[in-house]
Amino acid sequence: MPLLDIENLTVSFPQHEGVVQAVRGVSLSVAAGESVGIVGESGSGKSVTCMAVLRLLREPPARIAADKMELAGVNMLTASRAQLSASRGRVAAMVFQDPMTAFDPVFTIGHQIVETIRAHRKVSKSEARGEAANLLARVEIKTPEAILNSYPHQLSGGMLQRAMIAMALSCRPQILFADEPTTALDVTIQAQILQLIKDLQAEFGMGLIMVTHDLGVVAETVDRVVVMYGGRVMETAPVQDIFDAPAHPYTQALMASMPGRSAGKQRLVEIPGASPNPSNPPSGCPFHPRCAVAEARCAAQVPAFKSQSATRAAACWRLP
Protein backbone atom coordinates (compact mmCIF):
# COMPACT_ATOMS: atom_id res chain seq x y z
CA MET A 1 0.00 0.00 0.00
CA PRO A 2 1.46 3.40 -0.89
CA LEU A 3 2.23 5.79 1.94
CA LEU A 4 0.50 8.59 0.16
CA ASP A 5 -2.28 7.99 -2.32
CA ILE A 6 -4.07 10.84 -4.03
CA GLU A 7 -6.61 10.44 -6.78
CA ASN A 8 -8.11 13.27 -8.74
CA LEU A 9 -7.41 16.04 -6.27
CA THR A 10 -8.89 19.44 -7.02
CA VAL A 11 -8.33 22.58 -5.00
CA SER A 12 -10.02 25.88 -5.77
CA PHE A 13 -10.25 29.30 -4.19
CA PRO A 14 -13.42 31.26 -4.92
CA GLN A 15 -12.62 34.93 -5.47
CA HIS A 16 -14.24 38.09 -6.72
CA GLU A 17 -13.03 37.67 -10.29
CA GLY A 18 -13.95 34.02 -10.40
CA VAL A 19 -12.74 30.75 -9.00
CA VAL A 20 -8.97 30.22 -8.89
CA GLN A 21 -8.48 26.60 -9.86
CA ALA A 22 -5.11 25.92 -8.30
CA VAL A 23 -5.13 22.13 -8.63
CA ARG A 24 -7.24 20.35 -11.25
CA GLY A 25 -7.32 16.62 -10.96
CA VAL A 26 -3.93 15.58 -9.66
CA SER A 27 -3.24 11.93 -8.92
CA LEU A 28 -0.09 10.99 -7.13
CA SER A 29 1.22 8.16 -5.03
CA VAL A 30 4.39 7.72 -3.03
CA ALA A 31 5.60 4.47 -1.53
CA ALA A 32 7.69 4.13 1.60
CA GLY A 33 11.30 4.94 0.82
CA GLU A 34 10.43 6.35 -2.56
CA SER A 35 11.33 9.85 -3.57
CA VAL A 36 9.19 11.77 -5.98
CA GLY A 37 10.05 15.14 -7.43
CA ILE A 38 7.35 17.63 -8.35
CA VAL A 39 8.55 20.21 -10.83
CA GLY A 40 6.68 22.84 -12.76
CA GLU A 41 6.04 26.53 -13.30
CA SER A 42 5.57 28.86 -10.48
CA GLY A 43 1.86 28.81 -9.71
CA SER A 44 1.28 25.39 -11.18
CA GLY A 45 -0.14 24.17 -7.89
CA LYS A 46 2.79 22.29 -6.37
CA SER A 47 2.66 23.92 -2.93
CA VAL A 48 -1.12 23.90 -2.85
CA THR A 49 -1.11 20.16 -3.56
CA CYS A 50 1.19 19.51 -0.59
CA MET A 51 -0.74 21.83 1.70
CA ALA A 52 -4.01 20.23 0.67
CA VAL A 53 -2.81 16.77 1.62
CA LEU A 54 -2.03 17.95 5.14
CA ARG A 55 -5.20 20.03 5.16
CA LEU A 56 -3.20 23.15 5.88
CA LEU A 57 -5.16 25.46 3.61
CA ARG A 58 -7.77 27.62 5.23
CA GLU A 59 -11.13 26.07 4.34
CA PRO A 60 -13.01 28.18 3.42
CA PRO A 61 -11.85 29.91 1.24
CA ALA A 62 -10.06 26.84 -0.11
CA ARG A 63 -12.25 24.03 -1.43
CA ILE A 64 -10.68 20.60 -1.57
CA ALA A 65 -12.18 17.61 -3.34
CA ALA A 66 -10.68 14.27 -4.30
CA ASP A 67 -11.70 10.74 -5.11
CA LYS A 68 -9.13 9.62 -2.62
CA MET A 69 -6.60 11.30 -0.35
CA GLU A 70 -4.98 8.86 2.01
CA LEU A 71 -1.88 9.36 4.11
CA ALA A 72 -0.55 6.20 5.78
CA GLY A 73 -4.02 4.70 5.62
CA VAL A 74 -5.79 7.73 7.12
CA ASN A 75 -8.40 9.37 4.93
CA MET A 76 -7.29 12.98 5.11
CA LEU A 77 -10.55 14.22 3.60
CA THR A 78 -12.57 13.12 6.59
CA ALA A 79 -9.90 13.09 9.31
CA SER A 80 -10.82 14.68 12.62
CA ARG A 81 -8.84 17.53 14.12
CA ALA A 82 -7.14 15.12 16.51
CA GLN A 83 -6.24 12.75 13.68
CA LEU A 84 -4.85 15.63 11.68
CA SER A 85 -2.68 16.86 14.56
CA ALA A 86 -1.43 13.34 15.12
CA SER A 87 -0.50 12.89 11.44
CA ARG A 88 1.04 16.27 10.90
CA GLY A 89 4.64 16.42 11.89
CA ARG A 90 4.70 12.75 12.85
CA VAL A 91 3.49 10.86 9.78
CA ALA A 92 4.13 13.63 7.31
CA ALA A 93 6.31 16.62 7.95
CA MET A 94 6.73 19.62 5.74
CA VAL A 95 9.57 21.95 4.94
CA PHE A 96 8.14 25.25 3.76
CA GLN A 97 9.21 27.37 0.89
CA ASP A 98 9.90 30.64 2.68
CA PRO A 99 12.11 30.16 5.73
CA MET A 100 12.05 33.84 6.72
CA THR A 101 8.40 33.79 7.67
CA ALA A 102 8.13 30.20 8.87
CA PHE A 103 9.11 30.72 12.48
CA ASP A 104 7.21 32.44 15.27
CA PRO A 105 9.22 35.62 15.88
CA VAL A 106 8.72 35.71 19.65
CA PHE A 107 10.11 32.28 20.51
CA THR A 108 13.60 30.89 20.16
CA ILE A 109 14.43 28.31 17.53
CA GLY A 110 15.11 25.84 20.33
CA HIS A 111 11.66 26.35 21.81
CA GLN A 112 10.05 25.75 18.45
CA ILE A 113 11.93 22.55 17.73
CA VAL A 114 11.43 21.23 21.24
CA GLU A 115 7.70 21.88 21.16
CA THR A 116 7.48 19.92 17.90
CA ILE A 117 9.24 16.93 19.40
CA ARG A 118 7.15 17.08 22.55
CA ALA A 119 3.90 17.37 20.64
CA HIS A 120 4.40 13.84 19.41
CA ARG A 121 6.61 12.06 21.86
CA LYS A 122 6.74 11.84 25.63
CA VAL A 123 10.23 13.06 26.29
CA SER A 124 11.56 15.56 28.79
CA LYS A 125 12.42 19.08 27.73
CA SER A 126 16.13 18.54 28.17
CA GLU A 127 16.06 15.31 26.19
CA ALA A 128 14.18 17.03 23.40
CA ARG A 129 16.67 19.87 23.48
CA GLY A 130 19.54 17.45 23.20
CA GLU A 131 17.90 15.88 20.17
CA ALA A 132 17.29 19.28 18.66
CA ALA A 133 20.99 20.12 19.04
CA ASN A 134 21.95 16.85 17.34
CA LEU A 135 19.60 17.53 14.48
CA LEU A 136 21.00 21.01 13.98
CA ALA A 137 24.47 19.52 13.89
CA ARG A 138 23.30 17.13 11.20
CA VAL A 139 22.08 19.96 9.00
CA GLU A 140 25.59 21.39 9.14
CA ILE A 141 25.00 24.01 11.77
CA LYS A 142 28.31 24.45 13.48
CA THR A 143 27.10 25.98 16.74
CA PRO A 144 23.83 24.21 17.57
CA GLU A 145 23.58 25.53 21.13
CA ALA A 146 23.86 29.14 20.01
CA ILE A 147 21.27 28.62 17.30
CA LEU A 148 18.86 26.97 19.72
CA ASN A 149 19.00 30.11 21.83
CA SER A 150 18.56 32.46 18.90
CA TYR A 151 15.41 34.15 17.78
CA PRO A 152 14.43 33.87 14.11
CA HIS A 153 15.26 37.49 13.31
CA GLN A 154 18.85 36.90 14.36
CA LEU A 155 19.51 34.28 11.70
CA SER A 156 20.08 34.41 7.97
CA GLY A 157 17.71 32.78 5.51
CA GLY A 158 20.06 29.89 5.06
CA MET A 159 20.30 29.23 8.78
CA LEU A 160 16.53 29.37 9.16
CA GLN A 161 16.07 26.99 6.28
CA ARG A 162 18.37 24.48 7.89
CA ALA A 163 16.67 24.93 11.24
CA MET A 164 13.35 24.29 9.56
CA ILE A 165 14.65 21.12 7.95
CA ALA A 166 15.89 19.98 11.33
CA MET A 167 12.50 20.76 12.82
CA ALA A 168 10.69 18.81 10.11
CA LEU A 169 12.94 15.81 10.63
CA SER A 170 12.67 15.99 14.42
CA CYS A 171 9.81 13.48 14.65
CA ARG A 172 11.22 11.02 12.12
CA PRO A 173 8.31 11.46 9.71
CA GLN A 174 7.37 8.59 7.40
CA ILE A 175 7.08 11.02 4.56
CA LEU A 176 8.66 14.41 4.08
CA PHE A 177 7.13 17.12 1.94
CA ALA A 178 10.05 19.30 1.04
CA ASP A 179 8.80 22.46 -0.67
CA GLU A 180 11.86 24.05 -2.20
CA PRO A 181 13.96 22.99 0.77
CA THR A 182 17.23 24.26 -0.57
CA THR A 183 16.46 27.48 -2.45
CA ALA A 184 17.79 29.68 0.36
CA LEU A 185 20.97 27.67 0.70
CA ASP A 186 24.28 27.95 -1.00
CA VAL A 187 25.24 25.02 -3.18
CA THR A 188 27.61 23.54 -0.63
CA ILE A 189 25.01 23.40 2.11
CA GLN A 190 22.42 22.34 -0.44
CA ALA A 191 24.54 19.39 -1.45
CA GLN A 192 25.01 18.47 2.20
CA ILE A 193 21.31 18.75 2.98
CA LEU A 194 20.36 16.68 -0.04
CA GLN A 195 22.87 14.08 1.08
CA LEU A 196 21.35 14.14 4.57
CA ILE A 197 17.84 13.67 3.21
CA LYS A 198 19.03 10.76 1.09
CA ASP A 199 20.78 9.20 4.11
CA LEU A 200 17.68 9.53 6.26
CA GLN A 201 15.60 7.98 3.54
CA ALA A 202 17.93 5.02 3.39
CA GLU A 203 18.04 4.82 7.18
CA PHE A 204 14.32 4.99 7.96
CA GLY A 205 12.65 4.22 4.65
CA MET A 206 11.23 7.74 4.62
CA GLY A 207 9.12 8.71 1.61
CA LEU A 208 9.96 12.03 0.04
CA ILE A 209 8.13 14.55 -2.05
CA MET A 210 10.62 17.07 -3.33
CA VAL A 211 9.02 20.17 -4.75
CA THR A 212 11.56 22.16 -6.64
CA HIS A 213 12.33 24.35 -9.59
CA ASP A 214 15.86 23.17 -9.69
CA LEU A 215 16.27 20.34 -12.17
CA GLY A 216 19.72 19.79 -10.71
CA VAL A 217 18.17 18.95 -7.36
CA VAL A 218 15.81 16.59 -9.16
CA ALA A 219 18.70 14.93 -10.95
CA GLU A 220 20.52 14.49 -7.64
CA THR A 221 17.77 13.17 -5.40
CA VAL A 222 14.58 11.73 -6.77
CA ASP A 223 13.53 8.43 -8.31
CA ARG A 224 10.48 9.62 -10.15
CA VAL A 225 9.41 13.01 -11.48
CA VAL A 226 5.94 14.51 -11.69
CA VAL A 227 5.74 17.49 -14.01
CA MET A 228 2.90 19.90 -13.29
CA TYR A 229 1.51 22.73 -15.35
CA GLY A 230 -1.59 24.84 -14.78
CA GLY A 231 -2.78 22.68 -11.89
CA ARG A 232 -2.53 19.45 -13.86
CA VAL A 233 0.02 16.68 -14.11
CA MET A 234 1.59 16.78 -17.57
CA GLU A 235 3.95 13.90 -17.31
CA THR A 236 5.34 11.42 -14.86
CA ALA A 237 8.39 9.27 -15.48
CA PRO A 238 11.50 7.86 -13.86
CA VAL A 239 14.07 10.59 -13.40
CA GLN A 240 16.51 9.23 -15.96
CA ASP A 241 13.82 9.19 -18.65
CA ILE A 242 12.88 12.80 -17.95
CA PHE A 243 16.45 13.86 -18.58
CA ASP A 244 17.12 11.50 -21.49
CA ALA A 245 13.87 11.67 -23.37
CA PRO A 246 11.24 14.06 -22.08
CA ALA A 247 7.96 13.14 -23.75
CA HIS A 248 5.62 16.05 -23.11
CA PRO A 249 6.30 19.28 -25.04
CA TYR A 250 6.22 21.21 -21.77
CA THR A 251 8.81 18.95 -20.19
CA GLN A 252 10.94 19.34 -23.29
CA ALA A 253 10.70 23.13 -23.13
CA LEU A 254 11.51 23.03 -19.42
CA MET A 255 14.64 21.00 -19.96
CA ALA A 256 15.75 23.29 -22.77
CA SER A 257 15.46 26.42 -20.64
CA MET A 258 17.69 25.10 -17.89
CA PRO A 259 20.61 27.46 -17.28
CA GLY A 260 24.20 26.32 -17.02
CA ARG A 261 24.07 23.67 -19.72
CA SER A 262 26.81 25.36 -21.65
CA ALA A 263 29.57 27.84 -20.95
CA GLY A 264 29.45 31.57 -21.40
CA LYS A 265 27.17 34.56 -20.87
CA GLN A 266 24.14 33.90 -23.01
CA ARG A 267 20.46 34.33 -23.44
CA LEU A 268 18.54 31.26 -22.40
CA VAL A 269 15.80 29.44 -24.21
CA GLU A 270 12.51 30.80 -22.91
CA ILE A 271 9.11 29.30 -23.05
CA PRO A 272 7.21 32.10 -24.81
CA GLY A 273 4.15 33.61 -23.16
CA ALA A 274 3.02 33.81 -19.56
CA SER A 275 1.68 31.30 -17.08
CA PRO A 276 -2.03 30.70 -17.42
CA ASN A 277 -4.38 32.87 -15.44
CA PRO A 278 -5.60 30.46 -12.77
CA SER A 279 -9.05 31.99 -12.52
CA ASN A 280 -9.55 31.76 -16.27
CA PRO A 281 -7.45 28.84 -17.51
CA PRO A 282 -7.25 28.11 -21.23
CA SER A 283 -9.57 25.47 -22.55
CA GLY A 284 -8.20 22.07 -23.41
CA CYS A 285 -4.60 21.38 -22.54
CA PRO A 286 -3.42 24.20 -20.23
CA PHE A 287 -0.09 24.36 -22.06
CA HIS A 288 -1.46 24.71 -25.60
CA PRO A 289 -1.16 28.55 -25.88
CA ARG A 290 2.58 28.29 -25.32
CA CYS A 291 3.17 24.98 -26.99
CA ALA A 292 5.28 24.94 -30.18
CA VAL A 293 3.51 21.90 -31.59
CA ALA A 294 -0.08 22.55 -30.53
CA GLU A 295 -2.92 21.47 -32.81
CA ALA A 296 -6.57 22.40 -33.02
CA ARG A 297 -7.77 19.63 -30.72
CA CYS A 298 -5.30 20.73 -28.00
CA ALA A 299 -7.43 23.85 -27.48
CA ALA A 300 -10.67 21.96 -27.72
CA GLN A 301 -10.25 19.05 -25.36
CA VAL A 302 -8.19 18.15 -22.33
CA PRO A 303 -5.89 15.29 -23.31
CA ALA A 304 -6.25 12.17 -21.19
CA PHE A 305 -3.41 11.06 -18.97
CA LYS A 306 -2.16 7.99 -20.83
CA SER A 307 0.55 5.45 -20.05
CA GLN A 308 3.29 5.14 -22.61
CA SER A 309 4.96 2.29 -20.76
CA ALA A 310 4.81 0.58 -17.38
CA THR A 311 6.64 3.49 -15.78
CA ARG A 312 5.73 6.50 -17.88
CA ALA A 313 2.58 8.46 -18.52
CA ALA A 314 1.78 11.83 -20.02
CA ALA A 315 -1.16 14.01 -20.99
CA CYS A 316 -0.64 15.09 -24.58
CA TRP A 317 -2.66 14.56 -27.73
CA ARG A 318 0.48 14.05 -29.77
CA LEU A 319 1.66 11.10 -27.72
CA PRO A 320 0.44 7.58 -28.41
Partner: protein, 311 residues
Protein backbone atom coordinates in the same frame (compact mmCIF):
# COMPACT_ATOMS: atom_id res chain seq x y z
CA UNK B 1 35.65 54.86 -17.54
CA UNK B 2 34.17 55.42 -14.09
CA UNK B 3 32.59 52.27 -12.76
CA UNK B 4 28.87 52.24 -12.03
CA UNK B 5 29.52 51.13 -8.50
CA UNK B 6 32.69 50.86 -6.54
CA UNK B 7 33.16 49.53 -3.05
CA UNK B 8 36.39 50.36 -1.28
CA UNK B 9 37.52 48.44 1.76
CA UNK B 10 34.02 48.01 3.13
CA UNK B 11 33.74 46.51 6.59
CA UNK B 12 30.70 45.78 8.67
CA UNK B 13 30.68 44.84 12.31
CA UNK B 14 27.42 43.83 13.90
CA UNK B 15 27.17 44.38 17.61
CA UNK B 16 25.37 41.43 19.02
CA UNK B 17 23.79 41.04 22.40
CA UNK B 18 24.81 37.77 23.90
CA UNK B 19 21.94 37.21 26.27
CA UNK B 20 18.67 38.93 26.79
CA UNK B 21 17.66 41.09 29.69
CA UNK B 22 18.79 44.39 31.03
CA UNK B 23 22.41 43.52 31.60
CA UNK B 24 23.17 42.11 28.18
CA UNK B 25 26.74 41.41 27.20
CA UNK B 26 27.82 42.61 23.83
CA UNK B 27 30.00 40.96 21.28
CA UNK B 28 31.11 42.04 17.86
CA UNK B 29 30.59 40.04 14.72
CA UNK B 30 32.67 40.94 11.72
CA UNK B 31 30.22 40.15 8.92
CA UNK B 32 32.11 41.83 6.09
CA UNK B 33 35.86 42.34 6.13
CA UNK B 34 37.64 44.70 3.82
CA UNK B 35 35.61 44.08 0.68
CA UNK B 36 36.65 46.00 -2.43
CA UNK B 37 34.70 45.49 -5.63
CA UNK B 38 34.31 47.27 -8.91
CA UNK B 39 31.13 46.98 -10.93
CA UNK B 40 31.93 48.48 -14.35
CA UNK B 41 29.17 50.25 -16.25
CA UNK B 42 26.95 47.95 -18.23
CA UNK B 43 28.32 44.80 -16.67
CA UNK B 44 27.00 42.12 -14.42
CA UNK B 45 29.05 41.11 -11.43
CA UNK B 46 28.13 37.91 -9.65
CA UNK B 47 28.63 37.66 -5.91
CA UNK B 48 28.56 34.08 -4.69
CA UNK B 49 29.58 32.37 -1.49
CA UNK B 50 28.45 30.39 1.46
CA UNK B 51 25.41 31.28 3.48
CA UNK B 52 26.24 33.94 6.02
CA UNK B 53 29.39 35.01 4.22
CA UNK B 54 28.16 38.59 4.06
CA UNK B 55 26.80 38.84 0.53
CA UNK B 56 23.51 40.43 1.52
CA UNK B 57 25.24 42.74 3.96
CA UNK B 58 27.62 43.87 1.21
CA UNK B 59 24.73 44.50 -1.18
CA UNK B 60 22.79 46.41 1.43
CA UNK B 61 25.81 48.56 2.25
CA UNK B 62 26.23 49.35 -1.44
CA UNK B 63 22.64 50.62 -1.41
CA UNK B 64 23.25 52.51 1.85
CA UNK B 65 20.50 50.43 3.43
CA UNK B 66 22.98 49.19 6.01
CA UNK B 67 25.62 51.59 7.30
CA UNK B 68 29.17 50.40 6.73
CA UNK B 69 31.49 50.38 9.73
CA UNK B 70 34.25 51.65 7.50
CA UNK B 71 35.09 51.95 3.83
CA UNK B 72 33.65 53.89 0.93
CA UNK B 73 30.84 53.50 -1.58
CA UNK B 74 31.06 55.26 -4.93
CA UNK B 75 28.15 55.44 -7.34
CA UNK B 76 29.08 56.67 -10.78
CA UNK B 77 32.24 58.10 -9.25
CA UNK B 78 30.47 60.03 -6.47
CA UNK B 79 31.27 59.10 -2.91
CA UNK B 80 27.90 58.51 -1.29
CA UNK B 81 29.23 56.99 1.92
CA UNK B 82 28.46 60.00 4.07
CA UNK B 83 25.50 61.57 2.26
CA UNK B 84 22.48 62.45 4.34
CA UNK B 85 18.94 61.44 3.61
CA UNK B 86 18.09 64.32 1.28
CA UNK B 87 21.39 64.31 -0.59
CA UNK B 88 20.97 60.59 -1.14
CA UNK B 89 17.53 60.82 -2.75
CA UNK B 90 18.69 61.44 -6.35
CA UNK B 91 21.02 58.46 -6.00
CA UNK B 92 18.24 56.29 -4.65
CA UNK B 93 16.48 56.54 -7.97
CA UNK B 94 19.55 55.25 -9.76
CA UNK B 95 20.06 52.34 -7.41
CA UNK B 96 17.42 49.75 -6.88
CA UNK B 97 17.39 46.52 -5.03
CA UNK B 98 15.48 43.29 -5.29
CA UNK B 99 15.45 41.42 -2.04
CA UNK B 100 15.91 37.81 -1.23
CA UNK B 101 12.69 37.79 0.76
CA UNK B 102 10.01 39.19 -1.49
CA UNK B 103 7.05 38.32 0.70
CA UNK B 104 7.77 40.88 3.37
CA UNK B 105 8.84 43.48 0.81
CA UNK B 106 5.39 43.68 -0.78
CA UNK B 107 2.69 45.69 0.97
CA UNK B 108 -0.20 43.26 1.47
CA UNK B 109 -2.80 46.01 1.22
CA UNK B 110 -1.83 47.15 -2.27
CA UNK B 111 -2.68 45.62 -5.62
CA UNK B 112 0.18 44.46 -7.77
CA UNK B 113 -0.29 47.36 -10.17
CA UNK B 114 -0.10 49.80 -7.26
CA UNK B 115 2.97 48.09 -5.86
CA UNK B 116 4.80 48.26 -9.15
CA UNK B 117 3.70 51.85 -9.82
CA UNK B 118 4.63 53.09 -6.36
CA UNK B 119 8.23 54.14 -7.15
CA UNK B 120 6.89 56.25 -10.04
CA UNK B 121 4.42 57.77 -7.65
CA UNK B 122 7.08 58.48 -5.02
CA UNK B 123 9.26 60.24 -7.55
CA UNK B 124 6.27 61.97 -9.12
CA UNK B 125 6.76 60.62 -12.63
CA UNK B 126 3.79 60.80 -14.96
CA UNK B 127 0.07 60.93 -14.40
CA UNK B 128 -1.72 58.23 -12.46
CA UNK B 129 -2.97 56.66 -15.69
CA UNK B 130 0.52 56.61 -17.20
CA UNK B 131 1.92 55.13 -14.03
CA UNK B 132 -0.67 52.36 -14.05
CA UNK B 133 -0.03 51.66 -17.72
CA UNK B 134 3.73 51.45 -17.21
CA UNK B 135 3.21 49.20 -14.22
CA UNK B 136 1.11 46.78 -16.23
CA UNK B 137 3.69 46.79 -19.04
CA UNK B 138 6.39 46.02 -16.51
CA UNK B 139 4.36 43.16 -15.08
CA UNK B 140 4.05 41.70 -18.56
CA UNK B 141 7.78 42.17 -19.08
CA UNK B 142 8.46 40.11 -15.99
CA UNK B 143 6.15 37.40 -17.23
CA UNK B 144 2.87 38.14 -15.47
CA UNK B 145 -0.39 38.56 -17.32
CA UNK B 146 -1.98 42.05 -17.21
CA UNK B 147 -4.91 40.55 -15.37
CA UNK B 148 -2.64 40.21 -12.33
CA UNK B 149 -2.59 44.01 -11.92
CA UNK B 150 -5.64 43.97 -9.69
CA UNK B 151 -4.60 41.08 -7.48
CA UNK B 152 -2.94 41.15 -4.06
CA UNK B 153 0.42 39.68 -3.02
CA UNK B 154 -1.04 36.95 -0.80
CA UNK B 155 -2.84 35.46 -3.77
CA UNK B 156 0.41 34.74 -5.56
CA UNK B 157 2.82 31.88 -5.47
CA UNK B 158 6.35 32.54 -4.32
CA UNK B 159 7.72 32.88 -7.80
CA UNK B 160 4.97 35.21 -8.92
CA UNK B 161 5.70 37.49 -5.99
CA UNK B 162 9.35 37.60 -6.94
CA UNK B 163 8.44 38.73 -10.43
CA UNK B 164 6.44 41.56 -8.92
CA UNK B 165 9.42 42.60 -6.81
CA UNK B 166 11.62 42.67 -9.89
CA UNK B 167 9.05 44.65 -11.87
CA UNK B 168 8.92 47.18 -9.05
CA UNK B 169 12.69 47.55 -8.92
CA UNK B 170 13.09 47.96 -12.65
CA UNK B 171 10.27 50.40 -13.28
CA UNK B 172 12.45 53.42 -12.50
CA UNK B 173 15.01 52.19 -15.02
CA UNK B 174 17.83 52.36 -12.49
CA UNK B 175 21.52 52.54 -13.40
CA UNK B 176 22.58 50.05 -10.75
CA UNK B 177 20.57 47.11 -9.62
CA UNK B 178 21.50 45.01 -6.64
CA UNK B 179 19.68 41.74 -7.07
CA UNK B 180 19.86 39.60 -3.97
CA UNK B 181 18.90 36.09 -5.05
CA UNK B 182 16.15 37.37 -7.31
CA UNK B 183 15.76 34.10 -9.15
CA UNK B 184 16.13 31.58 -6.36
CA UNK B 185 12.37 31.24 -5.92
CA UNK B 186 11.65 31.07 -9.63
CA UNK B 187 10.99 28.04 -11.74
CA UNK B 188 13.36 27.25 -14.55
CA UNK B 189 11.33 28.75 -17.33
CA UNK B 190 10.68 32.03 -15.52
CA UNK B 191 14.27 32.07 -14.38
CA UNK B 192 15.22 31.97 -18.05
CA UNK B 193 12.84 34.85 -18.75
CA UNK B 194 14.21 36.93 -15.88
CA UNK B 195 17.78 36.28 -16.89
CA UNK B 196 16.99 37.23 -20.46
CA UNK B 197 15.14 40.26 -19.17
CA UNK B 198 18.12 41.35 -17.11
CA UNK B 199 20.42 40.79 -20.07
CA UNK B 200 18.10 42.80 -22.32
CA UNK B 201 17.77 45.65 -19.87
CA UNK B 202 21.49 45.68 -19.39
CA UNK B 203 22.01 46.02 -23.15
CA UNK B 204 19.07 48.36 -23.69
CA UNK B 205 19.71 50.93 -20.98
CA UNK B 206 23.17 50.25 -19.70
CA UNK B 207 22.04 48.66 -16.48
CA UNK B 208 24.81 47.46 -14.20
CA UNK B 209 23.94 44.63 -11.91
CA UNK B 210 25.41 43.27 -8.74
CA UNK B 211 23.93 39.80 -8.85
CA UNK B 212 23.97 37.95 -5.55
CA UNK B 213 23.13 34.31 -5.90
CA UNK B 214 23.67 30.80 -4.74
CA UNK B 215 22.80 29.45 -8.10
CA UNK B 216 26.03 28.99 -9.94
CA UNK B 217 24.33 27.84 -13.13
CA UNK B 218 22.50 31.13 -13.34
CA UNK B 219 25.65 33.03 -12.48
CA UNK B 220 27.41 31.31 -15.32
CA UNK B 221 24.86 32.31 -17.94
CA UNK B 222 24.39 35.85 -16.69
CA UNK B 223 27.53 37.43 -15.32
CA UNK B 224 30.72 38.89 -16.73
CA UNK B 225 32.73 38.59 -13.55
CA UNK B 226 32.33 36.60 -10.37
CA UNK B 227 33.51 37.39 -6.85
CA UNK B 228 33.50 34.57 -4.33
CA UNK B 229 32.91 35.38 -0.67
CA UNK B 230 33.88 33.22 2.23
CA UNK B 231 33.66 34.22 5.89
CA UNK B 232 33.08 37.88 5.12
CA UNK B 233 36.03 38.17 2.74
CA UNK B 234 36.44 37.99 -0.98
CA UNK B 235 38.67 35.01 -1.62
CA UNK B 236 38.67 34.99 -5.37
CA UNK B 237 37.49 37.19 -8.20
CA UNK B 238 37.83 36.63 -11.91
CA UNK B 239 36.05 36.63 -15.23
CA UNK B 240 33.17 34.18 -15.06
CA UNK B 241 34.62 31.53 -17.32
CA UNK B 242 37.95 31.70 -15.48
CA UNK B 243 36.13 30.95 -12.23
CA UNK B 244 34.34 28.00 -13.77
CA UNK B 245 37.33 26.54 -15.54
CA UNK B 246 40.39 27.72 -13.65
CA UNK B 247 39.41 28.35 -10.04
CA UNK B 248 42.37 28.49 -7.70
CA UNK B 249 40.95 28.93 -4.22
CA UNK B 250 39.90 25.77 -2.36
CA UNK B 251 36.60 27.33 -1.37
CA UNK B 252 35.74 28.23 -4.95
CA UNK B 253 36.57 24.71 -5.95
CA UNK B 254 34.43 23.14 -3.27
CA UNK B 255 31.61 25.43 -4.34
CA UNK B 256 31.88 24.31 -7.96
CA UNK B 257 32.14 20.74 -6.87
CA UNK B 258 28.83 21.06 -5.04
CA UNK B 259 26.82 22.21 -8.06
CA UNK B 260 24.19 19.58 -8.68
CA UNK B 261 24.82 17.52 -11.74
CA UNK B 262 22.38 17.91 -14.58
CA UNK B 263 22.25 14.24 -15.29
CA UNK B 264 20.98 11.65 -12.79
CA UNK B 265 23.51 9.16 -14.09
CA UNK B 266 26.33 11.27 -12.75
CA UNK B 267 25.09 11.28 -9.17
CA UNK B 268 27.96 10.79 -6.81
CA UNK B 269 28.72 10.79 -3.15
CA UNK B 270 30.67 13.92 -2.29
CA UNK B 271 33.13 14.77 0.36
CA UNK B 272 32.81 18.24 1.76
CA UNK B 273 35.70 20.26 3.07
CA UNK B 274 35.20 21.81 6.48
CA UNK B 275 35.98 25.47 7.02
CA UNK B 276 39.17 24.56 8.81
CA UNK B 277 40.27 22.38 5.92
CA UNK B 278 39.56 25.19 3.50
CA UNK B 279 41.50 27.70 5.60
CA UNK B 280 44.35 25.24 5.84
CA UNK B 281 44.42 24.79 2.09
CA UNK B 282 44.80 28.51 1.35
CA UNK B 283 47.08 28.70 -1.67
CA UNK B 284 50.67 29.71 -1.12
CA UNK B 285 52.28 31.80 -3.79
CA UNK B 286 55.70 33.17 -4.37
CA UNK B 287 56.86 35.88 -6.69
CA UNK B 288 54.05 38.39 -6.01
CA UNK B 289 55.73 40.46 -3.34
CA UNK B 290 56.82 40.43 0.26
CA UNK B 291 55.49 37.75 2.56
CA UNK B 292 53.32 38.85 5.47
CA UNK B 293 52.52 35.31 6.56
CA UNK B 294 48.81 36.21 6.46
CA UNK B 295 46.27 35.52 3.71
CA UNK B 296 45.76 38.52 1.43
CA UNK B 297 44.00 39.20 -1.82
CA UNK B 298 46.55 39.18 -4.61
CA UNK B 299 46.24 40.18 -8.24
CA UNK B 300 47.56 37.05 -9.94
CA UNK B 301 46.49 37.98 -13.44
CA UNK B 302 45.07 41.17 -14.99
CA UNK B 303 41.58 39.98 -14.29
CA UNK B 304 42.07 37.53 -11.47
CA UNK B 305 42.35 38.19 -7.76
CA UNK B 306 43.03 35.37 -5.33
CA UNK B 307 43.41 35.17 -1.59
CA UNK B 308 46.73 33.54 -0.86
CA UNK B 309 49.62 33.55 1.55
CA UNK B 310 52.75 34.98 0.03
CA UNK B 311 55.94 33.14 0.51
Amino acid sequence: MTPALELRNLCKTYHLRQSGGVFARHSDHLAVRDVSLILPKNQILGLVGESGSGKTTTGMMAMRLVEPSSGQILVGGYDITALGHAALKPFRRQMQVVFQDSYSALDPMMTLAQIVAEPLHIHGLGTAAEQAEQALDMLVKTGLDRSYGGRYPHELSGGQRQRVAIARALILRPAVLVADEPTSALDVSVKAQIINLLLDLQAEMGLSILFISHDLSVVRSLTDKVAVMFQGRIVEEAATETIFTDARHPYTRSLLQAIPVLNPRERRARRFLSRAEIEAATPRLSGYGVSTGKPELIQIAPDHRLEAILQ
